[in-house]
Amino acid sequence: MTSVIGTWIAAGLTLAIFSFLYRDNPAYKFAEHLYVGVSAAFAVLYTWAFDIWPMLVEPMILGRGVADPVDRWILIVPACFGLLMLARWIPRVAWLSRWAISLTVGIAAGLGITGQIQGILLPQIRGTLLPMNSIDNIILVVGVITTLVYFYFSVEHKGLVKAGARIGVVFIMASFGASFGYTVMARISLLIGRLNFLVTDWLHLFR
């Protein structure tokens, strides 16, 4: 019975969102605001259950999963930084939240260097260092170099650089077109999924 009620709720919300295709209307606004509300609660609960509880409360307050007392009590540091973030609620000491922001910015910046080198830059360069023994490899290498030339704005685009950038645009446009087509198909796939839910799970027109 509960799953039947749930299916009717889901079908109602699906139709309410699709009603926007006609025009903006109260049913769509209802579903939209409901979505924001449940998503906010979901984010809070998810963060509590998968971040704050296992990473802070369990090891520091309950002492679970930590053998070394240092590992336990060092967690006071991020807890204090977290509380400093909440200093924004008190205007007189709101500037203290900068300390917490700085910690997150510093970690993100550090990861910006190491993560990009390890995860993006080196693998992409390694993947481009190909033997020039096939048309595909030549096209790939030329495409990467000319795309980089197109985005290189430190020199004026004239002469050889202009010619390179022009070829780069061809690759970029082909790539954008392919990515666009790929995205459209992903969205269509979701649309088919929702329509399938309506006619199969809700209306039981197909089995």
């Binding site: 919300l13 609960l45 704050i52 922001i101 260097i113 666009f180």
Partner: protein
């Protein structure tokens, strides 16, 4: 004081992350992992600020009976329903994602359909955007049109019915020209991120303190 200490914190944490990457031994080994945990914890507290802002704004709208206050009430109701379901799931099942818990019920029958339908709705708006973008007026627009059409047709059975080589051409576009431009863009993004991260760590970029 109000700017120097934050700059020092950014510098130290940034340098520690970089150093631990190159020296994966004690006392540096494990520091990156520890800082990542700290990062998640602090971000968890940050979320409270955002949610507080959202709820406070909507409660104010309701209290002052401003235009659309009924929708603010719907938002608040959605928040309360999902939050209570989560708390009950945690209390009864000791887990947020217990399959028979009320939170998973809300997730399955409210969050999933709302989210999936929102994204599915974009299919229609992408189609109207495609009409404007794909008018073959220039070489670039023509390329965009041709590659998008091949990729779309090559990924569905009707494409193979029209021409059996279409799926192979689609694969080639994705693996060679598309990959080439994407690699160039990724390398550019990585170099840009590294440069910006260095500016932040060295204190040259301070906009986050304003």
């Amino acid at each position: 004081m109000k700017k120097e200490i934050p700059l020092l914190i950014t510098f130290l944490t940034g340098v520690i992350i970089v150093v631990t990457f190159f020296i994966p031994h004690q006392p540096f080994g494990g520091m990156q992992q520890r800082l990542l945990i700290w990062y998640s914890i602090v971000l968890g507290f940050t979320l409270l600020l955002g949610v507080d802002n959202l709820l406070r704004g909507n409660i104010r709208r309701m209290a002052r009976r401003q235009a659309g206050w009924g929708y603010a009430a719907v938002l608040m109701a959605g928040f309360v329903i999902c939050f209570v379901a989560g708390v009950v799931s945690l209390a009864r099942h000791n887990s947020l994602i217990a399959l028979n818990g009320p939170f998973m019920y809300v997730y399955t029958y409210m969050i999933v359909p709302l989210q999936a339908t929102m994204f599915a709705l974009l299919a229609f708006f992408i189609a109207s955007a495609a009409y404007r973008a794909f008018r073959a007026r220039t070489l670039e627009a023509t390329l965009l049109l041709i590659t998008a059409a091949i990729v779309m047709l090559g990924r569905v059975p009707v494409g193979a019915e029209l021409w059996d080589k279409l799926p192979q051409i689609q694969d080639w576009i994705m693996e060679v020209p598309q990959m080439a431009a994407k690699r160039g863009i990724f390398i550019g993004i990585a170099l840009g991120t590294i440069a910006m991260s260095l500016r932040v760590i060295l204190g040259l970029e301070r906009t986050y303190l304003s």
